[in-house]
Amino acid sequence: MRENNSAVILAALLMLIGPAAIADEQRAKANYMLNCQGCHTADGSGHQGRNIPTLKNYMGKFLKVEGGREFLIQVPGAAQALLSSEQLAELTNWMLREFDPKSLKDNFIPYQTQEVHQLRQHKVIDFTPVRSSLVKKIELLP
């Protein structure tokens, strides 16, 4: 009887967790399509001819330099997206895993809602020089 109960509880938990995780991934993917893909393209490669940066095999490198973790949320396309901080955190985590899993190998800490909410409060007025200084730091990475 006891075993039966735990099996039922386990099954119920799996039913709760399973679809929730998939639903979030689908929501993140849909949010990417609706908020990012128009310019960054389906595979995240962007468009060099129009200065649209590539996310593919690059985005995660920002996490390795000082100020980069903040930048990924404060960049206008992210900070000003018509998304709640919860969904922006979920979307950014999804993008990092989808487009640049290689850079995430060493202990990636996913963005949390609260962190994203706080980072969005701080507006970066002129983000171009901020980005170029980060890219310089990335180029110096080993």
């Binding site: 399509m33 609706l34 893909q37 128009g38 389906a42 595979d43 490669s45």
Partner: protein, 181 residues
Amino acid sequence: MLFKWLDKKTEQASRKSARITSRRSFVATLGTAVIGGSALPLLPVWRSNAHASNQSDMLPQEVSPGDDPGDPNSCEYWRYCAIDGYLCSCCGGTKTSCPPGTQMSPITWIGTCRNPADGKDYIISYNDCCGKSACGRCQCIRNENDTPAYLPANSNNINWCSGGPADVVYNCSTAIVLGVN
């Protein structure tokens, strides 16, 4: 022994070729090869990789929305809910492909439309076709869920051809289903 045999075979072959072919025929064959070789690239073969960069990976792929009711040549067709421009399906292309002589802009704006067949909201990519002057047929301005130009990612008032491979000239718009919202 071996060399003798080789000598004999070579001599036989050259004598035979001298008997049955003329020197002019060599020139004629060479001429055919040169002219034919240079004409080969002019044949109408698919040369999608001939651009400096291969774009096909960047262009969206249509995902079937299941039942797809309505007329793709009409502004009322469900997936044109946020369109602003000429329908490629009236301009020599289709709802998902560009007319001959134009190129699809890889950069685009993306919105959602409700499919009346199942009541679900589908994500639609409105890729513009560029490189020939405006088509002028089937102008549709529906603009549902369009955002102002200061939110450019979802604005249809931008010329998405600008800066693309065929540059600024806008011809018509497609409506490609990317998935369900």
